[in-house]
Protein backbone atom coordinates (compact mmCIF):
# COMPACT_ATOMS: atom_id res chain seq x y z
CA UNK A 1 0.00 0.00 0.00
CA UNK A 2 2.22 2.85 -1.24
CA UNK A 3 0.03 5.60 0.15
CA UNK A 4 0.46 4.81 3.80
CA UNK A 5 -1.52 7.72 5.22
CA UNK A 6 -4.65 9.49 4.04
CA UNK A 7 -4.86 12.53 6.29
CA UNK A 8 -7.22 15.47 6.72
CA UNK A 9 -5.24 18.40 8.07
CA UNK A 10 -6.17 22.01 7.42
CA UNK A 11 -2.54 23.10 7.82
CA UNK A 12 -1.69 20.84 4.91
CA UNK A 13 2.08 20.33 4.63
CA UNK A 14 3.57 21.27 8.00
CA UNK A 15 5.73 19.95 10.81
CA UNK A 16 3.47 17.19 12.12
CA UNK A 17 3.10 15.81 8.63
CA UNK A 18 6.67 16.10 7.44
CA UNK A 19 8.59 15.45 10.66
CA UNK A 20 6.07 13.39 12.60
CA UNK A 21 4.42 11.15 10.04
CA UNK A 22 6.88 11.58 7.20
CA UNK A 23 9.83 10.27 9.18
CA UNK A 24 7.82 7.56 10.86
CA UNK A 25 6.53 6.22 7.57
CA UNK A 26 9.65 6.89 5.55
CA UNK A 27 7.52 8.91 3.14
CA UNK A 28 9.06 9.73 -0.22
CA UNK A 29 6.13 11.59 -1.73
CA UNK A 30 3.22 13.71 -0.54
CA UNK A 31 0.08 14.27 -2.58
CA UNK A 32 -1.64 17.50 -1.60
CA UNK A 33 -5.19 17.50 -2.91
CA UNK A 34 -6.49 21.05 -2.94
CA UNK A 35 -8.16 22.76 -5.87
CA UNK A 36 -6.82 26.19 -4.88
CA UNK A 37 -3.21 25.19 -4.27
CA UNK A 38 -3.22 23.13 -7.47
CA UNK A 39 -3.50 26.31 -9.54
CA UNK A 40 -1.29 28.56 -7.42
CA UNK A 41 2.40 28.34 -8.16
CA UNK A 42 3.46 30.60 -5.32
CA UNK A 43 1.47 28.62 -2.76
CA UNK A 44 3.10 25.46 -4.06
CA UNK A 45 6.47 27.13 -3.53
CA UNK A 46 5.49 27.83 0.09
CA UNK A 47 4.71 24.20 0.74
CA UNK A 48 7.85 23.00 -1.03
CA UNK A 49 9.82 25.02 1.52
CA UNK A 50 8.50 22.72 4.25
CA UNK A 51 9.74 19.58 2.52
CA UNK A 52 13.15 17.92 2.65
CA UNK A 53 14.63 17.18 -0.77
CA UNK A 54 13.90 13.45 -0.52
CA UNK A 55 10.12 13.95 -0.40
CA UNK A 56 8.50 14.71 -3.74
CA UNK A 57 5.32 16.79 -3.70
CA UNK A 58 2.36 16.50 -6.03
CA UNK A 59 -0.13 19.38 -6.06
CA UNK A 60 -3.40 18.30 -7.62
CA UNK A 61 -7.10 19.07 -7.61
CA UNK A 62 -9.76 16.53 -6.70
CA UNK A 63 -10.50 15.46 -10.26
CA UNK A 64 -6.85 14.84 -11.10
CA UNK A 65 -6.30 13.06 -7.81
CA UNK A 66 -9.15 10.67 -8.48
CA UNK A 67 -7.71 9.93 -11.91
CA UNK A 68 -4.21 9.30 -10.54
CA UNK A 69 -4.99 7.30 -7.39
CA UNK A 70 -4.14 4.06 -9.16
CA UNK A 71 -0.77 5.46 -10.29
CA UNK A 72 0.18 6.41 -6.75
CA UNK A 73 -1.07 3.04 -5.53
CA UNK A 74 1.39 1.40 -7.94
CA UNK A 75 4.27 3.61 -6.78
CA UNK A 76 6.69 1.51 -4.70
CA UNK A 77 7.64 4.49 -2.55
CA UNK A 78 5.73 5.16 0.69
CA UNK A 79 3.52 8.21 0.37
CA UNK A 80 1.09 10.48 2.19
CA UNK A 81 -2.10 11.95 0.75
CA UNK A 82 -3.38 15.16 2.33
CA UNK A 83 -6.56 17.16 2.12
CA UNK A 84 -7.49 20.20 4.14
CA UNK A 85 -11.20 19.54 4.23
CA UNK A 86 -13.49 16.65 5.08
CA UNK A 87 -15.51 17.29 1.92
CA UNK A 88 -12.42 16.99 -0.25
CA UNK A 89 -11.46 13.62 1.22
CA UNK A 90 -15.03 12.39 0.89
CA UNK A 91 -15.17 13.43 -2.76
CA UNK A 92 -11.81 11.83 -3.44
CA UNK A 93 -12.67 8.50 -1.88
CA UNK A 94 -16.21 8.14 -3.14
CA UNK A 95 -16.23 4.71 -4.73
CA UNK A 96 -12.60 4.05 -3.75
CA UNK A 97 -13.04 3.41 -0.04
CA UNK A 98 -12.32 -0.31 -0.13
CA UNK A 99 -8.83 0.30 -1.54
CA UNK A 100 -7.39 2.45 1.24
CA UNK A 101 -6.26 1.61 4.78
CA UNK A 102 -8.20 4.37 6.48
CA UNK A 103 -8.53 8.10 6.95
CA UNK A 104 -6.60 9.96 9.62
CA UNK A 105 -8.06 13.10 11.16
CA UNK A 106 -4.93 15.03 11.96
CA UNK A 107 -5.85 18.65 12.42
CA UNK A 108 -9.25 20.19 11.81
CA UNK A 109 -9.32 23.37 13.79
CA UNK A 110 -11.94 25.71 15.15
CA UNK A 111 -14.11 27.83 12.95
CA UNK A 112 -17.67 29.06 13.44
CA UNK A 113 -20.17 26.20 13.42
CA UNK A 114 -17.68 23.54 14.44
CA UNK A 115 -17.81 21.74 17.78
CA UNK A 116 -14.71 20.59 19.65
CA UNK A 117 -14.39 16.80 19.48
CA UNK A 118 -10.71 16.69 20.47
CA UNK A 119 -8.25 19.53 21.07
CA UNK A 120 -7.12 19.17 17.45
CA UNK A 121 -10.39 18.09 15.85
CA UNK A 122 -13.39 20.39 15.49
CA UNK A 123 -16.25 19.25 13.29
CA UNK A 124 -19.64 20.50 12.24
CA UNK A 125 -22.45 17.98 12.42
CA UNK A 126 -22.40 17.79 8.61
CA UNK A 127 -18.69 16.99 8.63
CA UNK A 128 -19.24 14.28 11.24
CA UNK A 129 -22.01 12.81 9.10
CA UNK A 130 -19.73 12.83 6.07
CA UNK A 131 -17.07 10.94 8.00
CA UNK A 132 -19.61 8.40 9.20
CA UNK A 133 -20.71 7.95 5.61
CA UNK A 134 -17.10 7.24 4.66
CA UNK A 135 -16.94 4.64 7.39
CA UNK A 136 -20.18 3.11 6.19
CA UNK A 137 -18.45 2.77 2.82
CA UNK A 138 -15.71 0.68 4.36
CA UNK A 139 -13.15 3.29 5.36
CA UNK A 140 -11.81 3.20 8.90
CA UNK A 141 -11.73 6.74 10.28
CA UNK A 142 -9.63 7.64 13.32
CA UNK A 143 -8.17 10.79 14.82
CA UNK A 144 -4.47 10.89 15.62
CA UNK A 145 -2.34 14.01 15.43
CA UNK A 146 1.10 12.39 15.61
CA UNK A 147 2.31 8.77 15.39
CA UNK A 148 3.23 8.58 19.07
CA UNK A 149 -0.34 9.14 20.30
CA UNK A 150 -3.12 6.58 20.33
CA UNK A 151 -5.74 6.73 17.59
CA UNK A 152 -9.22 7.83 18.64
CA UNK A 153 -12.21 6.13 17.07
CA UNK A 154 -14.85 8.04 15.16
CA UNK A 155 -17.49 6.90 17.65
CA UNK A 156 -15.62 8.72 20.39
CA UNK A 157 -15.99 12.00 18.48
CA UNK A 158 -19.75 12.09 18.61
Amino acid sequence: MPIELYRIDDRLIHGQVVLGWGRSLGARFIVLVDDDVAVSGWEQDLYRMALPPDIEPYFVGVAEARARLADWAADPRPGILLTGRVETMAALLAGNGDSIPGVNLGGIHHRPGRIERLPYVYLTDDELRALKALRAGGVEVTAQDVPTTAPVTLDALG
Binding site: M49, L51, I108, H109
Partner: protein, 124 residues
Protein backbone atom coordinates in the same frame (compact mmCIF):
# COMPACT_ATOMS: atom_id res chain seq x y z
CA UNK B 1 1.89 56.31 12.21
CA UNK B 2 4.53 55.60 14.86
CA UNK B 3 8.24 55.52 14.00
CA UNK B 4 8.57 52.49 16.25
CA UNK B 5 8.43 49.20 14.46
CA UNK B 6 6.22 46.54 15.87
CA UNK B 7 7.70 43.11 16.42
CA UNK B 8 5.33 40.20 16.01
CA UNK B 9 6.54 36.79 17.17
CA UNK B 10 4.73 33.83 15.58
CA UNK B 11 5.53 30.38 16.92
CA UNK B 12 4.24 26.90 17.56
CA UNK B 13 2.48 26.28 20.86
CA UNK B 14 3.42 28.55 23.74
CA UNK B 15 6.86 29.47 22.44
CA UNK B 16 6.07 33.01 21.29
CA UNK B 17 4.58 34.00 24.63
CA UNK B 18 7.56 32.55 26.45
CA UNK B 19 10.04 34.38 24.22
CA UNK B 20 8.26 37.70 24.65
CA UNK B 21 8.06 37.18 28.41
CA UNK B 22 11.78 36.43 28.54
CA UNK B 23 12.65 39.55 26.49
CA UNK B 24 10.57 41.73 28.77
CA UNK B 25 12.18 40.24 31.89
CA UNK B 26 15.68 40.77 30.48
CA UNK B 27 15.23 44.27 29.10
CA UNK B 28 12.41 45.74 31.13
CA UNK B 29 10.96 46.98 27.83
CA UNK B 30 7.33 46.06 27.40
CA UNK B 31 4.82 46.33 24.62
CA UNK B 32 7.23 46.24 21.68
CA UNK B 33 6.67 42.58 20.87
CA UNK B 34 3.35 40.86 20.30
CA UNK B 35 3.22 37.05 20.65
CA UNK B 36 1.07 34.93 18.33
CA UNK B 37 0.51 31.21 18.80
CA UNK B 38 -0.57 28.79 16.12
CA UNK B 39 -2.44 26.71 18.68
CA UNK B 40 -6.07 25.75 18.15
CA UNK B 41 -6.69 27.47 14.84
CA UNK B 42 -6.55 26.71 11.15
CA UNK B 43 -4.41 28.67 8.72
CA UNK B 44 -7.10 31.30 8.17
CA UNK B 45 -7.43 31.81 11.90
CA UNK B 46 -3.68 32.13 12.28
CA UNK B 47 -3.57 34.67 9.47
CA UNK B 48 -6.19 36.72 11.30
CA UNK B 49 -4.16 36.58 14.51
CA UNK B 50 -1.06 37.77 12.67
CA UNK B 51 -2.90 40.64 11.00
CA UNK B 52 -4.42 41.72 14.29
CA UNK B 53 -1.02 41.65 15.97
CA UNK B 54 0.52 43.79 13.23
CA UNK B 55 -2.30 46.26 13.50
CA UNK B 56 -1.58 47.99 10.21
CA UNK B 57 1.83 49.23 11.35
CA UNK B 58 5.25 48.67 9.83
CA UNK B 59 6.52 45.52 11.44
CA UNK B 60 9.02 42.72 11.54
CA UNK B 61 7.40 39.32 11.90
CA UNK B 62 9.60 36.78 13.63
CA UNK B 63 8.75 33.14 12.90
CA UNK B 64 10.20 30.08 14.60
CA UNK B 65 10.77 27.60 11.78
CA UNK B 66 11.95 28.27 8.21
CA UNK B 67 8.95 26.28 7.03
CA UNK B 68 5.68 25.06 8.45
CA UNK B 69 2.33 26.50 9.39
CA UNK B 70 3.53 29.70 11.05
CA UNK B 71 5.68 30.76 8.10
CA UNK B 72 3.12 29.68 5.54
CA UNK B 73 0.36 31.67 7.26
CA UNK B 74 2.59 34.73 7.53
CA UNK B 75 3.69 34.58 3.90
CA UNK B 76 0.19 33.81 2.68
CA UNK B 77 -1.28 36.84 4.44
CA UNK B 78 1.60 39.30 4.10
CA UNK B 79 3.23 38.64 0.74
CA UNK B 80 1.67 41.73 -0.84
CA UNK B 81 2.07 43.94 2.23
CA UNK B 82 4.56 46.77 2.13
CA UNK B 83 6.35 47.70 5.31
CA UNK B 84 6.50 44.14 6.62
CA UNK B 85 9.52 41.84 6.75
CA UNK B 86 9.56 38.25 7.92
CA UNK B 87 12.52 36.69 9.72
CA UNK B 88 12.68 32.95 10.43
CA UNK B 89 14.61 31.12 13.10
CA UNK B 90 13.70 33.54 15.87
CA UNK B 91 15.83 33.39 19.00
CA UNK B 92 16.06 35.36 22.21
CA UNK B 93 19.18 37.26 21.20
CA UNK B 94 17.63 38.72 18.07
CA UNK B 95 14.51 39.79 19.94
CA UNK B 96 16.53 41.49 22.67
CA UNK B 97 18.51 43.35 20.02
CA UNK B 98 15.29 44.30 18.24
CA UNK B 99 13.63 45.92 21.23
CA UNK B 100 16.75 48.02 21.86
CA UNK B 101 16.67 49.21 18.21
CA UNK B 102 12.98 49.51 17.37
CA UNK B 103 13.24 52.30 14.79
CA UNK B 104 14.17 52.44 11.12
CA UNK B 105 12.86 50.62 8.13
CA UNK B 106 11.52 47.08 8.43
CA UNK B 107 14.12 45.75 5.99
CA UNK B 108 16.97 47.27 7.97
CA UNK B 109 15.56 45.99 11.23
CA UNK B 110 15.15 42.51 9.77
CA UNK B 111 18.76 42.46 8.55
CA UNK B 112 19.95 43.61 11.96
CA UNK B 113 17.88 40.96 13.72
CA UNK B 114 19.29 38.21 11.53
CA UNK B 115 22.84 39.35 12.30
CA UNK B 116 22.17 39.47 16.03
CA UNK B 117 20.54 36.07 15.99
CA UNK B 118 23.35 34.48 14.01
CA UNK B 119 26.03 35.98 16.28
CA UNK B 120 24.36 34.33 19.25
CA UNK B 121 24.76 30.84 17.82
CA UNK B 122 28.19 29.60 18.83
CA UNK B 123 30.08 26.90 20.69
CA UNK B 124 31.67 28.75 23.63
Amino acid sequence: MSDTLRGVVVCHGALAGALVDAVERITGLRGLLVPVSNADCDRGGLEERISAAIGGQPAVVFVDMPSGSCLIAALHRLRDEHGIRIVTGVNLAMLVDFVFHPGGLPGEAADRAVSAGERAIRIP
